[in-house]
Symmetry: C2
Subunit: 417 residues, 2 copies
């Protein structure tokens, strides 16, 4: 087998542990120097491949690559850019092959969520369609936790831990203030279509916190919601509301939609928390506070879940091992063997079964009234937030790495996106 | 000296370390059992004294009191309730004395910010005015860091660390996304009149992050602000904005005012971040994300500063020691002996010099253009975020304590607030 180089790219929204997978990919590739030459990273994701803007990861020190494991965000830059189908945009696929050929790239590691799994799947078909041998392996990542087959998606466990911890802390706060001041605290969390992150906030009920959760999976009903909050405040003197950004009315309207759309055509959300807080104020007259965690939640490496970091690394490592073993068009997955104690191993799934499939919360993970979670959900969630994996600190601040990210010399003419 | 009981109450907004001071007060009082009988805590602050709703802290185990040190929020409940002057509301002061007499209370430990320092000062004058011996000691606490004399206020160091870390993490995130997506990230932080917390966000500039900070001390100028953001985005490809909730126009209007006011007559703020984000979008067309940290920042015990926790505890301890030594009408303070290395000791100041004095950012802590901080500010801030002091975890969640908070039997007739 001729020694080939590898291309690695990060796609879509970044997470607290996407770099931990990158660390797994690069460290493992370095151990297979007999089969894999250099790992070239795409600067800003797949755009780096199309524009031949490649980063030579071989120039990074072992210490810096190791530091990726505790550094949030996408160390090589990510992008929101979705390749169309081969029929609709053959030019881009041809360009990818050109770049792969020019740099002797035989392995394509694409790291992202559902959209990038689809892109990776398309690339995996290029070998046949365009006569160039390429092995495409998808590395799963998405805080939304909405990829199928895998037990969970790296990035989710850490955002879940951040939201569970933050909701607990803020609930303790509002409880302290509730006698004369704030009685309602609303936290808005990510999750466009799936309520996994919101479910993590609902875990605080196990610590005696009165919490009402609004899932995207449950159509919003203002009357029922207000009744539930009123009941909680009557009983406990205060109430915490966890609202998913994807929470919507029966007609599909989001509680708060800013009117802008991203490159994939998804509505850009934000601001459900103030909408909900003001709604309760208008109906029940409660003094409120609200928070929108936004990027803070998915970037919060300082409170990452140890399970999550370990799985992220293991999936990156496995992606390379699958490639070396000759696989194409697959995604390594987390397979749960047991919840208590949490025992998992790495498996893999064909991309044809992953691409464009979204995993929602099962209805039996959401309580009957739609405002909380069930024991089945708890059993699923707790293992994913187990353990702490603190980054090193220097002078009071986390010591995150910024790589050199030196460019590989271009060999081709420029390409207009 | 006759053995007297003590009254302890938490006032105003709670913090990540207010309970660490409570821990210092109660543990130290227990060590002085020859002079101090029981520490009664006011349920929900001073309201607990007025309504004779006292908590018997002697019934709490040593382990639970020790756990206060790592538990955020006010363990006995806080309140927003300001006593008027002795002339304006003699009835309330007379009631306090009645309750103190009924429960043989000779020590009054009041734990809060500027407003409660004023209340504590008034109570300290009761000995003379109302002929009942009471020693009133103020324990400083406020995330706003706006109390005079003390080097800093417990609660601030931890919120500063939270904001510095969160701003760094979110900035890494937006940097990753900036090529094709989000180029502007806005984080709104607390600080009604003083920009100390916003200044902590500005520390990320030391890690190469392009950050523009909006302080309450600097009148907001839209043109200059937009120019600054544009410059940053041209140079770095993205920009982070830290906006204080107290940021306002030259005419005093806040960037975002919700129109409601709290018990002290302060405007309830929130929502400056979306205002700023939309302003930049309208002028520069940048895709944005924004976060409002709200309670998350002041409750974030999971990322508390070790300096802050140690000082909070030491100030609680010192308050009791000052009382035992016969002091009245004082507040223990943090005295900085050196910034590098950070060396501090505990001093104290007369309440007459503390009450109703607000400490703003010195102008020479803010950069000339008004959008950043100076080296003098850095030298001040870094020591306050030094060290991590992680709480214990169980099953993936911090193990915070909820006290029994058993009531002391009432001896007086009810009192209408």
């Amino acid at each position: 087998m001729e020694k080939k180089n590898a291309f690695y790219a990060q796609s879509g929204g970044v997470t607290a542990v996407i770099n931990a997978s990158a660390c797994g990919v690069i460290e493992t590739a370095r151990k297979h120097a007999d089969k894999i030459g250099t790992v070239y990273a795409g600067r800003n994701g797949i755009i780096g491949a199309l524009t031949e803007d490649l980063i030579d990861t071989a120039l990074e020190s072992a210490a810096d690559i190791a530091a990726l494991r505790h550094t949030p965000s996408g160390g090589f830059g990510s992008c929101r850019f979705k390749l169309k189908s081969l029929e609709a945009n053959k030019r881009e696929y041809e360009r990818l092959i050109e770049v792969f050929k020019a740099h002797n790239i035989g392995y394509f590691f694409y790291h992202g969520g559902g959209d990038s799994a689809d892109t990776c799947y398309k690339v995996s078909q290029l070998s046949e369609a365009m006569g160039y041998p390429i092995q495409a392996i998808h590395v799963p990542k998405t805080v939304d936790n909405d990829l199928p087959i895998t037990d969970n998606c790296p990035g989710f466990g850490s955002v879940a831990k951040y939201i569970a911890v933050s909701t607990l802390e803020a609930s303790f706060d509002v409880k302290s203030m509730s006698k004369t001041s704030t009685k309602l605290f609303v936290i808005e969390v990510m999750g466009r279509h799936a309520g996994w992150i919101a479910a993590a906030g609902a875990l605080v009920a196990d610590q005696g916190i009165p919490v009402v959760t609004l899932f995207p999976e449950i159509e919003f009903n203002e009357e029922k919601f207000i009744d539930k909050v009123q009941l909680m405040v009557q009983k406990f003197g205060y109430c915490t509301v966890v609202v998913s950004e994807g929470c919507h009315y029966p007609d599909g309207r989001f509680l708060a939609e800013q009117g802008t759309r991203d490159a994939f055509g998804h509505a850009q959300l934000g601001g459900a928390a103030p909408v909900v807080a003001n709604m309760v104020k208008a109906r029940l007259g409660l003094k409120f506070h609200w928070a929108v965690a936004d990027y803070l939640q998915r970037a919060a490496r300082h409170i990452a879940s140890k399970s999550d970091v370990e799985q992220a690394y293991a999936l990156g490592k496995s992606a390379v091992e699958l490639a070396v073993a000759g696989h194409n068009s697959v995604m390594p997955t987390v397979v749960r063997k047991s919840s208590s104690p949490y025992v998992w191993e790495i498996g893999h799934a064909p991309l044809s079964q992953v691409a464009n499939v979204e995993k929602f919360m099962p209805r039996d993970f959401i309580s009957e009234d739609g405002f909380g979670i069930t024991d089945a959900c708890r059993e699923y969630l707790y293992p994913l937030i187990q353990g702490e994996d603190y980054p090193p600190y220097e002078n009071g601040m986390p010591k995150y790495v910024s790589l050199e990210n030196q460019s590989v010399a271009r060999k081709l003419v420029a390409f207009d996106l």
